[in-house]
């Protein structure tokens, strides 16, 4: 139980990678507040699962695009659990389309959720971390933000933005014993990837050195490492979890 009695916020925690991170943290003894946007039933189920693991859980339906709601998420977490130690900015969406077909709304919604959402929640948590001179932040980026990906100009821009945010905040908050890191998943077996065409999926698996899509647990494993004492001297870093697909 390496996170025993720590308090963690995970945005977009009901499904996919967020869910795997939530379960990993709960399994390691942390109390969890997670946000979700639409998946009410899935969120309730997850809450029960966490409580069965013996951890405390707060599930909050909110949109990370809303600064005031993000504030509420942080305040409520501190109120219910008496503190805050870990923030995982995971909430993200895709609206894939060739740029020539992309509407302003499709651009805006992805940037607002994926990038501005990170600002909204982190801005509301940072003063607590600075004051207590302690805190860990993990931002979920994507290899799309490093290598680029056709039909994902909006998503890739938001995910690259997250890496810049991570590096800058790591420099700014490092003297206050706050570590800020990112994880950049490649193709992970979640609903986000399930939408890809079968043929495309088959082709991808052929060029991934580890010959499979990752599962959400692979990403949670990297998060677990970055939050652990083993990573005490690592900050501003982005760990790529992609089965070797984008080896540079």
């Amino acid at each position: 139980m390496i996170f025993k009695d720590k308090v963690a916020i995970v945005t977009g925690g009901a499904r996919g990678i967020g869910r795997a991170i939530v379960l990993m943290l709960a399994g390691e003894g942390a109390n969890i507040a997670f946000s979700y946007l639409k998946s009410v039933e899935t969120a309730e189920g997850l809450k029960n699962e966490i409580e069965k693991l013996g951890a405390k859980c707060l599930a909050l339906q909110m949109d990370v695009r809303d600064f005031e709601k993000a504030k509420e998420l942080v305040e409520k977490t501190k109120e219910v659990f008496g503190g805050l130690d870990i923030l995982i900015n995971n909430a993200g969406i895709t609206k894939d389309k060739a740029l020539m077909m992309m509407t302003k709304e499709e651009w805006q919604e992805v940037i607002d959720t994926n990038l501005n959402g990170v600002f909204n929640v982190t801005r509301n948590a940072i003063v607590t971390f600075l004051k207590q001179k302690k805190g860990d932040i993990i931002n979920i980026s994507s290899v799309s933000g490093i290598a680029g990906m056709g039909r994902q100009t909006n998503y890739a821009a938001s995910k690259a933005g997250i890496i810049g945010f991570t590096k800058s905040l790591a420099k700014e908050a490092g003297p206050y014993n706050i570590r800020v890191n990112a994880v950049a998943p490649g193709f992970i077996d979640t609903d986000m990837v399930a939408g890809l065409r079968e043929e495309h999926k088959k082709n991808l698996k052929e060029i991934i050195p580890l010959s499979r899509f990752g599962d959400a647990g692979d990403v949670a494993g990297a998060v677990r490492f970055l939050l652990s004492e083993a990573a005490n001297y690592i900050t501003g870093e982005t760990i790529v979890v992609d089965g070797g697909l984008f080896i540079r």
Binding site: V127, L130, K131, P175, Y176
Partner: protein, 78 residues
């Protein structure tokens, strides 16, 4: 009242690494004392710790001089 002003002056002096005599009530933290926003936060946190009070972070912007800081602290001191 005077005591609190002196105590807070000492907290500020320690954080900005200046002699307490330089922290006059009107001296501007940022312009006159070379303070940065992180130091303002440290002052806020040190005051909260010393008096066991909680000051909302929105008040951070109001910490611009010793006089203003004492005024903010007084709002939360019983």
């Amino acid at each position: 009242m005077q005591d609190i002003e002196n105590e807070i002056r000492n907290i500020i002096a320690e954080i900005v690494e200046k002699d307490p005599s330089q922290i006059t009530p009107e001296a501007k933290f940022f312009e006159d004392l070379g303070m940065d926003s992180m130091m303002a936060l440290e002052i806020l946190a040190a005051i909260e710790k010393k008096y066991k009070i909680s000051i909302p972070e929105e008040k951070l912007m109001q910490l611009t001089s010793l006089k203003d800081t004492v005024a903010v602290a007084n709002q939360y001191l019983k």
